[in-house]
């Protein structure tokens, strides 16, 4: 069966510090990968998605970047965090083409102080 991991689970970082959140998927190959941000326990904002190694699509211009160095690894980064980067970050995967659902990781709670 497939599993998706995210770490860390919680993170408190000062404004201006760098960020690196990691997501890995097990039990499948060549998945689509996604990064979402959820503010105030409500709607999801799609930040990035990837259909393959090194292929990243950005949905909104912002202070964040994403990379996919390996097939089942997706990393969310920032060089300098802003207060507005605080939120709940969710990674998800889905199979490639087809009417497939996404499966979500447990999330990372980021607080920028």
């Amino acid at each position: 069966s497939q599993t998706i991991h995210q770490w860390p689970a919680t993170l408190v970082q000062p404004v201006g510090s760098p960020l690196s959140l990691e997501c890995t998927v097990e039990g499948t190959s060549n998945p689509n990968l996604y990064w979402y941000r959820q503010a105030a326990g409500r709607g999801l904002q799609l930040l990035f998605y990837s259909v393959g190694i090194g292929q990243i699509s950005s949905e909104v211009p912002q202070n964040l970047s994403a990379s996919r160095p390996q097939d089942r690894q997706f990393i969310l980064s920032s060089k300098k965090l802003l207060l507005s980067d605080s939120g709940f970050y969710l990674c998800a995967w889905s199979r490639q083409a087809g009417p497939y659902e996404q499966y979500f990781g447990p999330g990372t709670r980021l607080t920028v102080t």
Partner: protein, 115 residues
């Protein structure tokens, strides 16, 4: 462009009563529709999906959803609510099945089941 709407921010139901969480969608082609549940400080869990075929879809934890093409709706239902069903529910739509097609999520409905 595809979109999905959840018109109710919150739904309150007494335990044992039936529940409905509403969802409407807009797509130009055939819709693929999904429901997810989120418990506090957790990721979203997939409940069920509609692709084609029978308009009544059964999913996890006793939930089901009814696809209505004429009303462009995909309401989530359960015959008898449990207190443990209290959570945040998201409807989502995917337009097309290419590798580049994305899932669009609604804004979420908070379901509260009172004992």
């Amino acid at each position: 462009a595809q979109s999905v709407a959840q018109p109710e921010d919150q739904v309150n139901v007494a335990e044992g009563n039936p529940l409905t969480v509403k969802c409407t969608y807009s797509v130009s082609g055939n819709p693929y529709l999904f429901w997810y549940v989120q418990y506090p400080n957790r990721g979203l869990q997939f409940l069920l999906k509609y692709i084609t075929g029978d308009n009544l879809v059964k999913g996890s934890y006793g939930f089901e959803a009814e696809f209505n093409k004429s009303q462009t709706s995909f309401h989530l239902k359960k015959p008898s609510a449990l207190v443990s069903d209290s959570a945040l529910y998201f409807c989502a739509v995917r337009e097309g099945d290419s590798s580049a097609s994305k899932i669009i999520f609604g804004s979420g409905t908070r379901l509260s089941i009172r004992p």
